[in-house]
Amino acid sequence: MTRISLHVNGTAVERDVEPRTSLADFLRESCALTATHLGCEHGACGACTVLVDGMIARSCLKFAVMCEGREVVTLEGLADDALSDTIKQAFHESHALQCGFCTPGMLMAARDLLSRNPIPSEDQVRAALAGHICRCTGYSGIVHAIILASRRLIPVE
């Protein structure tokens, strides 16, 4: 076991973890933060995407011990985030989710894209989602939602 200290959703957390424990398992099992979903555990589906020091990261590919001293934010930590609220509302209105399993990762990817590129083209949206699997929607609603959120954040004349 290794003792790690980090911030999770703004709260200081100190825990003993096995060196092999992934950040995803740490968040889900040690911190009871189950919004972060595991769809493949090999970095392909994107459902486990979280923020580490403000950058999106696949929590299944990162060890918890790599996050010593870092700031980790999960979907639970974005409950009062205005940008996320706009995206979530757009997801709701665009029927961008069906079973909901991919949704936390999709929201993270959408937020990351719009914070870097507030007015993305459809191709840019699709490229930003290229590492995220949704089995239900066929992506159309998700793409629509992100463009809708973008328009609401920066109204075009």
Binding site: A35, S94, G100, I133
Partner: protein, 785 residues
């Protein structure tokens, strides 16, 4: 895509935004892996590394004997009979953990329990397994040759069942002016729900019952299977399906791991959990498709299709899954080969074959993607042979509106619709003349483009008649609903179907809102718990809106009638002079709120009409007035670009013209169509689990199993027609599967169209760059020689 909440009060047909979204968007959903119970431990399985072998020994690691389980630890566990109730269907006993033999790579052999999954996997690595390897059976057609190795020694050959389906006058076929023979193959893939399978089970000592959290499409039926396997009465098993992250058919079978986890829970005295990982999912969850067709199509000189003859092999894998196995694949494949065409003769030998691969189960579309691929490719091949537009050949053969209801040669009753209109609409959407102009103007070196069509039907709402005909072990002929108005006038409805993304909490509330003239926000739909819901079969076969929609509608209607009677009593009016509106019973002189009526019905019985039973609580079942099924249908039209140098296919335009009868929520219908097509494109272009000669699967991660993402799947343009069904409530038909049926056929036809100058044939899915390139080289070599 529509998205505005509807406020006019006409709830049937409103694109109401979904009630289930909020918890998912907040990260507050609960999937099986999110269930937390004190003392919970994880399970990891030891799985077979070989495709076929006899187990010589399995040794538990010293000191861990009480945490490692093999089938020998469960002498009283029953093996379930699975497959249709036909004597000709051979039994393939599938134990919860392998007993004497292993028959596919990934078959569960032992289970290890530890405080974490990582520790359980450590333990699994220490289990010593010794198997003597047997020859692997990996090709479904070769498996039927007399010399083939046998999966089950007591069987005379490797077929679960062999049947010939023959109908109509076959004598005209052999002298038909056009006779083309083609072979088609739709390869094996996985269902790939993004949430994998999962079970959490524990014995509740107070209630003396086994509580099973299960990611399933139908908890009641799974409980029946678990009860039989475990030897427990059903009233001592409670199955809870919380949020279920997609199923697509794959979660509609009881798999051995699920039985094993429950059996372990009964032994160890603390909660146990198994969450399938993605490798396990691709190895050992339900596999699907894997159809092989060798067919001759006959047509007259005007291109009227006369008949289809040939063989269909279904590679069904090593075992039949409870309850019904995959036997419907063969009969549905053969039965759907005539498609929506006026084909008068059919003679197909079907072989459902056991191979050393993971067992086959249902996947969105069940058999019809393969059948549609075969018939729609044949239509295009006849058109190519005659030198006419495939669109035109379809026009000559499609059943017309006037001919409906039309009994196909295979015995399906196509009930309502206008297939010609769907084809015309899709053709107009992709603009065939414009595509032909672009093809003509193409300069050397530019990518080729092609346009392809596929017409499909989607049987839904089929009940007793159809499932009995199929000799199904479970006959899902009805659905049920319990409708309760509580003392304050709010409504809770319990149903036996299982939402796993379809939006039932919204659509079923819309139906109840329509019947009660109430806002859907005051109606809560509950499901997924055998302790609280009436018996139901679950969600599959595009059945939920027909059956559960009907059950909610008819039961709520009866409740509304009782409300109306009480209201009339309150208003001292004749019941025929009062109506229900906006949460009130209204007469000419006054109105009374549901809340007052509900209060009386629940806690003030003395206020009710003389002799009336208390409570506003009704349970009802529903089946359509005819149970042979109602058919949704449509035409898919796709324009593709093909890179000649690589064989890579890119979709430029995808248009659908479809009719699923009355739409309860058009936004959700569009979502089903788009999502279904996405999966159909996966089948058509990307997804495949190949096996080598030793029966080793070659795609066990998302690195080698290609899943389509947002960069591969276009936004589909959808046109709707609405021809209400005649035998269902509100005229609804199912819509869950249709999207997945036609894309492989439409895509292959489009790629073939791009290469029609060299008459290359594209008859195997997925159409990987390699297969496309090979097909072109073969055609050119053939033309050159």
């Amino acid at each position: 895509m529509s998205g505005d909440a509807h406020s006019s009060g006409g709830w049937i047909g409103a694109s109401l935004l979904r009630k289930e979204d909020a918890r998912h968007l907040a990260g507050k959903a609960m999937f099986v892996a999110d269930v937390r119970l004190p003392g919970l431990q994880d399970i990891a399985f030891v799985r077979s590394q070989i495709a076929h072998g006899r187990i010589v020994s399995m040794a538990k690691p010293a000191g861990a004997e009480s945490r490692v389980f093999t089938i020998a630890d469960f002498p009283s566990l029953h093996v379930l009979e699975a497959g249709p109730e036909l004597d000709a269907f051979r039994q393939s006993p599938y134990p919860a953990l392998a007993s004497d033999k292993v028959r596919y790579v990934g078959q569960a052999m032992a289970a290890c329990v530890a405080p974490t999954r990582a520790l359980a996997e450590d333990l699994a690595e220490l289990v010593q397994v010794d198997c003597s390897e047997l020859p692997a059976v990996v090709d479904a057609i070769a498996a039927m040759s007399p010399g083939s190795a046998r999966l089950f020694e007591s069987w005379a050959d490797n077929a679960y069942i062999t049947r010939t389906i023959s109908a109509g006058d076959l004598s005209r076929l052999k002298d038909a002016p056009i006779r083309l023979r083609r072979k088609f193959r739709m390869n094996r893939q996985a269902t790939v729900s993004l949430e994998t399978r999962g079970v959490v089970a524990h014995w509740d000592a107070r209630l003396e019952e086994l509580v099973v959290y299960l990611s399933t499409q139908g908890g009641h039926v799974m409980r029946l299977g678990l009860a039989r396997a475990l030897g427990l009465p059903e009233n001592q098993i409670r199955v809870i399906a919380p949020d279920v992250g997609g199923g697509f058919g794959g979660k509609n079978r009881l798999l051995p791991e699920e039985i094993a986890v429950c059996a372990i829970a009964l032994k160890v005295g603390h909660p146990v959990r198994w969450i399938e990982d993605r490798r396990e999912h691709l190895l050992a969850s339900v596999h699907c498709r894997d159809h092989h067709y060798d067919l001759i199509v006959s047509a007259d000189s005007e291109g009227h299709l006369l008949g289809i003859e040939g063989d269909v092999h279904i590679d069904a894998g090593a075992y039949a899954l409870w309850p019904t196995g995959s036997f419907m694949e063969a009969s549905m494949a053969a039965g759907n080969l005539p498609g929506p065409y006026r084909i008068k003769a059919l003679s197909v030998n079907t072989f459902t074959v056991a191979t050393n691969k993971a067992p086959m189960g249902p996947y969105r579309g069940v058999a019809r993607p393969g059948a549609c691929f075969a018939i729609e490719r044949l239509v295009d091949e006849v058109a190519l042979h005659m030198g006419i537009e495939p669109y035109e050949l379809r026009k000559r053969n499609l059943v017309t509106r006037e001919e409906m209801p039309y009994n196909t040669v295979a015995g399906l009753k196509l009930d309502t619709g206008d297939y010609h209109d769907a084809l015309d609409t899709a053709a107009a959407m992709v603009d065939i003349p414009a595509v032909r102009r672009r093809q003509a103007e193409r300069k050397p070196g530019e990518p080729r483009i092609g346009v392809g069509f596929a017409v499909y039907t989607e049987q839904s709402g089929h009940g007793v008649v159809e499932w009995s005909k199929r000799k199904s072990r479970v006959v899902p002929g009805y659905e049920s609903a319990n409708v309760r108005m509580l003392p304050d006038g709010s409504v809770t409805i319990h149903v036996g179907v299982q939402n796993h993304g379809q939006g039932h909490e919204t659509t079923l509330a819309q139906i109840a809102a329509h019947e009660l003239s109430l806002d859907p926000s005051q109606i809560r739909i509950r499901y997924g718990d055998t302790a609280t819901t009436p018996f139901g079969f679950g969600s599959f076969a595009s059945r939920s809106i027909v059956f559960a929609g009907g059950a909610v509608g008819t039961t709520t209607r009866r409740l509304a009638e009782k409300i109306r009677l009480i209201g009339a009593h309150f208003l001292q009016a004749d019941p025929k002079d009062v109506r229900i509106e906006n949460g009130h019973v209204i007469s000419q002189s006054g109105s009374v709120a549901f809340s007052e009526i509900a209060l009386a019905a629940n806690i003030r019985q003395e206020m009710l009409p003389q002799g009336m039973d208390p409570l506003l609580d009704m349970t009802g079942t529903y089946e359509p007035t005819e149970s042979a099924g109602v058919f949704s249908y449509g035409t898919h039209a796709v324009v593709v670009e093909v890179d000649e140098a690589t064989g890579g296919v890119k979709i430029l335009d995808y248009a659908v013209s479809e009719d699923c009868g009355t739409m309860i929520n058009p936004m959700i219908v569009d979502g089903q169509v788009q999502g279904g097509i996405s999966q159909g494109i996966g089948t058509g272009l990307y997804e495949e689990i190949p096996f080598n000669a030793e029966g080793q699967p070659l795609a066990t991660t998302f690195a080698d199993y290609m899943m389509p993402c947002a960069t591969e799947i276009p936004t589909v343009r959808i046109a709707h027609s609405v021809t209400p069904a005649k035998v269902t409530e509100y005229g609804v038909k199912g819509v869950g599967e249709g999207g997945a049926i036609a894309p492989p056929a439409a895509l292959a036809n489009a790629v073939a169209d791009a290469f029609r100058d060299c008459k290359a044939s594209f008859n195997e899915t997925p159409l990987t760059p390699r297969r496309v390139w090979d097909a072109v080289q073969i055609a050119r070599a053939g033309a050159a020689s």
